[in-house]
């Protein structure tokens, strides 16, 4: 029989190794907490300041010189309309570009250059997009300082995010599925429309919403193209009673958005306006969290149907 092992020594060794386990675990937890607690502190601080200001009137009032009467009506309507335009342009463009790059583009150096550029575009500071948009959309195309210009600017800004999300989603589709479809005599477009697009939808939508959540908080490019900070009117209604019933006037209307409204109030000396800013910030964070929550829910519910 084998001699009895020195169990005491083994246990001492394990105990020593486990100490390092614990030390690293604590370091990691600390690192995590710095991030999470900082955000939580900011959020709670803002909530304490802002929540007392939140009431129905705050959402249905235009900004005002009197802080107690000021509201975020023009800001949240502006943000929503701009987001609508952003999604309308960014989704088809980004998805089409992503599909082309993954499924159609020949694998050569031109494609490589385009790929590298898209990755770089995602890192371009947003103010640069603002400058580009000022020259191109506002002056060159003559869209003016409008909802349309802002929506297009933000669409450009999140386009790389949408493209990358689309490509990631497409890449997660097993090659066997593509081959199965091609083997039945499908053309490339049939494979894309019947398989690639539907199966990558959860990933694409998640990417789109995450991009939108980023865009809704963007301030710099919107200021650059000249969004007004004090707006006491709403863009024209999209539906009308008389023919032709729809109106796109709102696209060319002046506007403001949530972060600009916040910025405007923070720059005021009165404490009551700071409270308004906190309340608007609280609403903006909730809008972002709601969008992210929606993305998570969407991915979860769509993924249930698709398993590899």
């Amino acid at each position: 029989m084998e001699a009895a092992r020195d169990l005491g020594a083994i246990r001492a060794l394990i105990a020593k190794h486990k100490r390092w386990d614990m030390i690293f675990g604590l370091c990691g937890l600390l690192a995590l907490m710095i991030g999470v607690l900082t955000f939580a502190a900011l959020f709670v601080d803002m909530a304490i300041d802002g929540i007392p200001r939140l009431n129905w009137d705050f959402f249905t009032s235009f900004p005002s010189r009197k802080p107690a009467q000021a509201g975020i009506l023009s800001a949240w309507v502006g943000s929503s309309l701009v987001m609508l335009v952003t999604a309308f342009f960014a989704v088809p463009l980004g998805v089409a570009a992503g599909i082309y790059l993954e499924e159609y583009a020949p694998k050569n150096w031109v494609t490589d250059v385009i790929e590298i550029n898209i990755t770089n575009l995602a890192g371009v500071p947003s103010i640069v997009y603002g400058l580009l948009a000022l020259g191109l959309f506002v002056y060159q195309f003559g869209f003016g300082q409008s909802v349309l210009s802002a929506g297009l600017t933000l669409a450009l800004l999140i386009l790389p995010v949408v493209i990358v999300a689309t490509r990631e989603a497409i890449r997660s589709i097993p090659q066997g599925i593509r081959e199965g479809a091609y083997a039945l005599g499908s053309t490339q477009w049939q494979v894309c429309k019947d398989h690639i697009i539907p199966y990558s939808m959860p990933g694409i939508l998640t990417g789109v919403i995450i991009g939108m959540a980023r865009a809704i908080g963007e301030t710099a490019p919107i200021i650059t193209i000249g969004a007004l900070t004090f707006i006491a009117f709403l863009p024209g209604a999209p539906l009308k009673a008389e023919p032709p019933f729809v109106s796109f006037e709102w696209l060319f209307s002046g506007f403001t958005v949530m972060p600009i409204q916040m910025f405007n109030w923070t720059s005021r000396p009165e404490a009551a306006f700071q409270q308004n800013a906190a309340a608007a910030g609280f609403v903006l964070v909730l809008m972002t969290l709601a969008m992210n929550g929606f993305a998570i829910w969407l991915r979860y519910s769509l993924r249930k149907k698709i398993k590899w």
Binding site: G176, I177, G180, Y182, L184, G185, K305
Partner: protein, 264 residues
């Protein structure tokens, strides 16, 4: 070409004829001067050690290599009775795939319903009449010996099926379009022995309807299901003949070594 002794009672007709087939993955010469017939309504097995090119050969029949850049064919695979070289540059690979179906190694049902999986090939061919689709789907599922198991739940996702059922679904999908040749690329290598047995039985039944070419790394399987066997090694066709002869008295020493397990 290797002569084939006429053991079978019915006259054998060539469905396809491979002539001087060379295949290149960029610079790699994967298939070397292959000449071989594929007989109509018979099962032809391709055997050989890993990397011998049997799958590459099979995937040449339906031009799957055209999906990836840098691949190149030389030579001919002539399809009868119309005598078309499916490898000719002027022949659209999509046209070839409409005539020659394939079943893959790993079951690859689409994340759609059982019904839509089988109907997909028909939809690709522009069929949208509900009655025709229903008829064809049932017929294909019956041919794939799956109808009884799934007829009550055609609208359920295909992923709910077991691995063996999924593979039979893939066979039904390939059969629904009435292919002239059905290619099997190691169809049972991802399945358990019971599912494997059911697929083998199915292949045996299917040869009355369709010409079959099957790649397998399992020699017992080749012996069980095939009428003709081709032994390949390092991209070359070493020997082709009636399965019984290949397994009982192969003409080449290499074939004998592989089959008796001394090598491979």
């Amino acid at each position: 070409m290797v002569a084939v002794s006429a053991q079978e009672a019915a006259p054998v007709v060539a469905k396809a004829e491979v002539r001087g087939l060379n295949f290149y993955y960029s610079d790699f010469h994967a298939l070397k001067a292959i000449d071989m017939p594929v007989y109509e309504k018979k099962v032809t097995a391709l055997i050989g050690p890993s990397g011998c090119g049997k799958s590459t050969f099979l995937r040449s029949f339906n031009r799957m290599h055209d999906l990836y850049p840098g691949n190149r064919y030389e030579g001919e695979i002539r399809l009868f009775p119309d005598d078309v070289n499916v490898l000719a540059p002027g022949v659209d690979p999509i046209e070839v795939r409409m005539r020659i179906s394939m079943v893959f190694q790993k079951p690859n049902p689409f994340p759609k319903s059982i019904y839509e999986n089988v109907a997909y090939g028909l939809r690709v061919r522009g069929e949208s009449r509900r009655v025709t689709l229903n008829e064809k789907v049932e017929e294909a599922l019956r041919s794939a010996a799956l109808w009884e198991e799934v007829k009550e739940r055609l609208q359920e996702p295909a992923f709910n099926l077991s691995g063996g059922q999924q593979q039979r679904l893939c066979i039904a999908r390939a059969l629904a379009t009435d292919p002239e040749i059905l290619l099997f690329d190691e169809p049972t290598s991802a399945l358990d022995p019971i599912a494997t047995a059911s697929i083998e039985e199915l292949i045996h039944d299917l040869k009355n309807k369709v010409t079959i070419v099957i790649v397998t790394h399992n020699m017992q399987q080749a012996a069980r299901v095939s009428d003709y066997t081709a032994y390949m090694y390092l991209g070359e066709l070493i020997e082709f003949g009636v399965t019984d002869e290949i397994f009982i008295k192969p003409k080449k020493k290499e074939t004998e070594d592989y089959i008796t397990g001394r090598f491979g």
